[in-house]
């Protein structure tokens, strides 16, 4: 087990390094002259360019150094939590990040709770009633969850709320310790929207995992020795079918990271996802780089935890 943990940890560290390189290449090397963008502030009509001012901006942003030095400096700054300032409004990225992180975390926790409660029973139900009308109806609905874009589903909720209840989302964030009820009301619709989308994927995975287990010999043996159906499903089948649930929860982290970008923008939640979209639209690469790195590390840690839990629950995994 120790060797397995060590191997997985080393792999995770290697992945983090590779991801940081990729992000650096995509966002620092590819986009062209950032100094020029800061200089013109998005205004394309400027004709006369003050070369000296441009050079000053480059030096201030650390863009004058050779690329490998820029990379090392960026990684060093990320690790020491010195995430730089916004190119345009000059605020500290780390301070903004700290303020917005709880919003996204709360959304993630509520979404995962909703989707686990909904998806696992539905997935088991579909497998037990395979090829009956129940299975068909639930399959059609869960495929809908994958096919309907979350931003449209969210838009419909907003339009319906506005139309029939003249409800619209609050613009300022209320922390749960100040007004718990208002806070929950603020998050419930975003969490339901995101929860539906992630439940659909999970229910489908749960269904195939359960079906696979139900076809095993030991399930037939359990039936053959006369156990009641209920006991076979809950004592024998569920235990093994629950293993992939760990993976499923891990995958939700990835889905939520992407989903938060859209859902927070629509419901005006001041979280990291919305922060990222705004920074991307204004080409504020300091913020974009930091946030993309953060979301990637979030996924890598989630995957690492999934693998370790798996190794713990299923000894066969340790010998790959």
């Amino acid at each position: 087990m120790q060797a397995y943990i060590l191997r997985r940890l080393l792999l995770a560290v290697l992945t983090v390094v590779m991801v940081s390189l990729l992000i650096f290449i995509i966002l620092r090397v590819a986009p062209g002259d950032v100094a020029m963008m800061v200089y013109t502030q998005g205004d394309d009509d400027i004709v006369a360019i003050d070369e000296e001012a441009l050079q000053r901006i480059r030096e201030n942003l650390g863009l004058a150094d050779p690329l490998h030095l820029q990379y090392l400096k960026w990684v060093g700054n990320m690790l020491t939590l010195d995430w730089g300032t916004s190119y345009f409004h000059g605020g500290s990225v780390w301070e903004d990040f700290k303020e917005k992180l709880p919003v996204t975390l709360q959304l993630a926790i509520m979404t995962i709770t909703i989707s686990v409660i909904v998806a696992i029973p539905i997935g088991i139900m579909m497998a037990l009633k395979q090829d009956t009308w129940i299975d068909y109806v639930l399959r059609i609905i869960s495929l809908g969850g994958i096919s309907v874009p979350s931003f449209w589903f969210a838009t419909l909720i907003l339009v319906a709320g506005l139309y029939w209840f003249s409800w619209s989302p609050r613009l300022e964030y209320i922390p749960p310790w100040e007004a718990p009820w208002d806070n929950i009301r603020m998050f419930v619709w975003p969490a339901i929207t995101l929860g539906w989308v992630t439940s659909a994927t999970k229910a489908r995975m749960m269904r195939s995992s359960m079906l696979e287990v139900l076809r095993q010999d030991y399930i037939r043996t359990a039936h053959a020795k006369g156990l009641r159906n209920f006991v076979v499903v809950y004592r024998h089948a569920m235990k093994n079918a629950m293993l992939p649930v760990v993976t499923i929860i891990g995958i939700s982290f990835a889905l939520i990271a992407g989903g938060s970008v859209i859902i927070e923008s629509i419901f005006s939640l001041p979280g990291l996802g919305r922060f990222l979209v705004e920074a991307m639209n204004s080409r504020d690469y300091n913020i974009v780089q930091a946030l993309v790195a953060f979301f990637s590390v979030w996924i890598i840690i989630a995957n690492l935890l999934v693998d370790l839990t798996y190794g713990f629950l299923d000894p066969r995994v340790r010998y790959d």
Partner: protein
């Protein structure tokens, strides 16, 4: 002369044998996979609308302020938007964008992913390690965020959207083709080909690749729906196909949102179009998976 006639006759015979077989195959598919057939019907309808767009609908970019925010009627089938542009025409032309992005992104992403998977499995060792660590890297960035980052870097535009969504789709095709190719590589016919002196490229292309087509096709069809929804999401967030092009996702964002209370059809039709299209591709993809992979049948 006689020989030519004979050849022509042979072609006719072959066609006459082929036609009933295809019809029979189609009928079998419809009977066995009714949901897949519904999906295929949606895809065919969507393709027909996209191809016939210039005939059945007007100019999607034509402004007509006098007729702004008209509700659906005989003149404007689905109503007009805040600039008086015909929504029907924009939806139909939007189908072109969705289909182009869907197929091109999958061709680029699943295509190069598949080739890399083949190479990775065939050579093994260091090549395999390098390729697989690269795939780990790509998979560690959430897909939508990776696509957004690529768009932020390259700038908006149709070709960049295709590229961004294509890159995001590389790892899945890579993994599935690699694991299949690993198994096939050790088969006796691959060994036999090597022993008579076939080149690496020949073994990969003629002996290993055909065995990987089925799993690759499953991933590729599943990727079509994902690609269309990704394009819509990118355009919705303002980092996809830029306005005034009639992208379905873009039609749901920006200024149009201010008019939802007075013109709810603006919020409805583009979303219906995206959902229908993606639903169609997903239904079809599930059916393709069931047909091509007997092990997964019914799961």
């Amino acid at each position: 002369m006689a020989a030519q006639q004979e050849a022509e006759q042979a072609v006719v015979y072959r066609q006459s044998a082929l036609m009933p077989r295809m019809l029979k195959g189609t009928r079998n598919f419809v009977v066995r996979k009714p949901l897949g057939a519904v999906g295929a019907a949606i895809i065919i309808l969507m393709t027909a609308l996209a191809v016939l767009a210039p005939v059945i609908a007007g100019d999607p970019l034509k402004l007509n302020i006098i007729d702004a925010l008209e509700s659906p009627s005989g003149k404007y089938l689905l109503g007009t938007d805040d600039l008086g542009r015909d929504l029907w025409s924009r939806i139909v032309n939007g189908a072109q964008i969705s289909l182009i992005v869907g197929f091109a992104a999958v061709a680029i992403g699943s295509g190069s992913g598949g080739v890399l998977g083949l190479i990775s499995a065939f050579y093994g060792g260091k090549v395999d390690i390098i390729v697989q660590r690269a795939m780990d890297t790509l998979m560690s960035i959430p897909t939508l965020i990776l696509a957004l980052a690529i768009m932020a870097s390259l700038g908006t535009g149709l070709m960049n959207v295709v590229l961004a969504i294509g890159i995001v789709q590389i790892p899945r095709a890579n993994r599935i083709v690699r694991s299949q190719a690993f198994a096939v590589k050790q088969s006796e016919f691959a060994l036999a080909a090597r022993s008579i002196g076939a080149s690496d490229a020949r073994i990969m292309a003629l002996h290993i690749f055909p065995q990987c087509i089925a799993p690759w096709l499953i991933i590729a069809t599943a990727g079509l729906g994902t690609a269309i929804i990704s394009e819509a999401s990118l355009s919705f967030l303002g980092l996809g196909v830029p306005p005034p092009e009639p992208s379905w996702g873009g039609m749901l964002s920006g200024r149009a949102r201010e008019f939802y209370a007075v013109a709810p059809w603006l919020a409805i039709w583009p979303g219906v179009a995206i959902s229908m299209a993606v639903y169609g591709f997903n239904l079809f993809g599930d059916a393709v998976r069931d047909v091509l992979d007997p092990r997964l049948r019914g799961t």
